[in-house]
């Protein structure tokens, strides 16, 4: 779905920056670990905000992610999200 490759560190940084903003946290993106639950005591990401977050990731990384990697799937942690975006970027 995209024509250029982006390394995992760049994806992770973009994802953490966006989940922090979406959760309205006053924290640096680097402070969020990849094993942090998306919908837990720190991050507050639900289904709809998750999809909005994906569209923001697309804008930030200038990529288009394929729907079939996401719809009907469950995600628990920041790492799950980074993994699937990495997979989408590579598709």
């Amino acid at each position: 779905m995209t024509t250029h490759q982006i390394d995992r560190a760049t994806i992770s940084q973009a994802v953490r920056r966006i989940v922090v903003a979406e959760s309205q946290l006053a924290a640096a993106p680097d402070a969020v670990r990849e094993d942090e639950p998306l919908n837990g005591s720190v991050l507050r990401i639900n289904s709809l905000s998750f999809v909005k977050l994906l569209v923001q990731v697309e804008d930030d990384l200038s990529v288009t992610l394929p729907d079939d990697l996401f719809v009907g799937h469950s995600f628990r942690t920041v790492a799950d999200l980074v993994d699937v975006v990495e997979q989408g970027v590579a598709a």
Binding site: G40, V55, F70, G72, R76
Partner: protein
């Protein structure tokens, strides 16, 4: 030059004076794993809801389906003009000529396409009058998907053939309240019947593998898909050398109104011209745009979906029964609401008897039978073209969307002809109570 079916949808988002107020999201419910986030909305539909991009290519399979019934007819309703004493031409855009009998198929096809592409194999939805359920059933049939519909029980009783058609198209149809869901079994829902049907669909979809809930009218992407109506109308009016300064549609949540009206707003904004009056015709028994408040409210009875900024009479308000089930919804779409709040959309309320009388006049004069919902738009268009109403008056011409046919509403027309139809004005105190706990988008907005 003759207008053909559009190849692109046209969004008004680039021309909003300010961004839409963000939704207030709730905690997820019904997935069985509260820590997991489940994705149910195709990204493309969300992109279409948030990105300020004016033109969106219509996927070829959706275009192919559109070509079976689009472009829809537009004509000058000269006989209706005479009946209502119009001073200016009334142009009618008719959306009732497809299998669903209404404009709803325009977005049902698009949504089914995107969900199918995303791997979803069953769509679940709630429907009031049954037009949306029928559209969804047809779209699912086209794309080889299963379809489950929760239809407001009273409406299904009055219109059993809606159920027959949906089942014929392969859908499973449940009268709501169904007993299949906790929200219905608990009797805890305080909302109106359509919001309960939607709530049942939300809960059922969350518990069903490979299924997703999809909503009919109010979402911004639905209104985008409906832009084919107004885009075609702009071309068809130009083909005829006609000009209008008022565009009218009825409003349940706002998709047919948005579909016919907002391309005119985009066209005016892009060319620097004055926009026509954009007039939303609502039921006087569900007066969210004329007597409601601009506040955050629920979109369904479960409260699981995000709270949206909308003109609302309160999701707990007990809307009286009527023959216009498609208008019996407590809130207007957030896009239509924002434009109303910005003064770019006007609104007028129409009584049920006046709506059906306009529908009867239209039937006998134009030989086209409109749905009672469309009768509200026709009544408002007649007022604008004649003496004006609510300070609204057309000077050059009126375009009105007849959003659906009324072949399954003949019981309502029979009641009209027998003199057995009455209006039910909302109780001001009940309206006040229903909105009293809502968080206003702007505090100075108050019940008028």
């Amino acid at each position: 030059m003759s207008t053909s079916a559009p190849q692109q949808w046209r969004s008004v988002l680039p021309y909003l004076s300010e961004p839409l107020p963000p939704d207030r999201t709730q905690q997820d419910a019904g997935t069985g794993d509260p820590a997991a986030v489940q994705v149910n909305l195709p990204l493309e539909l969300l992109r279409q809801s948030v990105q300020a991009k004016e033109y969106w290519d219509i996927p070829e399979p959706v275009q192919e389906a559109y070509r079976r019934f689009r472009p829809t007819p537009l004509w000058r309703a000269t006989a209706f003009e005479r009946e209502v004493g119009a001073r200016v031409p009334i142009w009618v855009k008719y959306e009732g000529g497809n299998i669903s009998g209404s404009h709803k198929l325009n977005t049902a096809l698009a949504q089914a396409y995107y969900y199918h592409r995303a791997g979803v194999r069953e769509l679940v939805t709630g429907t009031g009058a049954g037009q949306w359920g029928t559209a969804m059933a047809a779209a699912c049939a086209l794309f080889g998907m299963r379809c489950t519909v929760f239809m407001v029980g009273g409406s299904l009783e009055r219109k059993p053939y809606r159920g027959v058609l949906m089942r014929m198209l392969g859908a499973r149809v449940h009268a709501s309240p169904s007993g299949l869901t906790a929200i219905a079994r608990s009797g805890a829902s305080r909302g109106n019947s359509l919001s309960l049907a939607i709530g049942e669909a939300v809960e059922y979809a969350a518990a069903t593998p490979d299924a997703a809930f999809c909503i009919g009218s109010g979402e911004t992407y639905s209104i985008l898909h409906q832009s084919v109506i107004g885009t075609e109308a702009i071309g068809q009016l130009a083909d005829r050398g006609a000009e209008v300064d008022a565009v009218v549609g009825c409003v349940g949540a706002g998709s047919n109104f948005g579909g016919i009206a907002l391309p005119f707003l985009a066209e005016a904004a892009s060319t620097g011209a004055d926009a026509p009056l954009l007039v939303a015709a609502e039921s006087s028994s569900t007066p969210k745009l004329t007597r409601g408040v601009y506040a955050y409210d629920r979109t369904d009875a479960t409260g699981a979906a995000p709270m949206e900024a909308m003109y609302t009479i309160g999701s707990d308000y007990g809307i009286p029964d009527s023959h216009s089930a498609g208008l019996r919804y407590h809130g207007a779409a957030k896009l239509v609401s924002a434009l109303r709040h910005a003064g770019q959309v006007q609104a007028t309320a129409v009584d049920q008897v006046a709506a059906l009388e306009a529908g009867r006049l239209f039937t006998t004069s134009e030989l086209t039978l409109p749905a009672p919902e469309s009768g509200h738009a026709l009544a408002a268009a007649a007022r604008l073209a004649a003496d004006g109403a609510d300070g609204l008056r057309a000077e050059r011409g009126v375009l009105v969307c007849a959003s659906g046919h009324g072949y399954l509403d003949l019981g309502a027309y029979q009641q009209l002809m027998e003199g057995g139809l009455a209006d039910q004005a909302p109780d001001p105190q009940a309206l006040l109570r229903a909105v009293s706990g809502l968080d206003r988008v702007e505090r100075q907005e108050a019940l008028r």
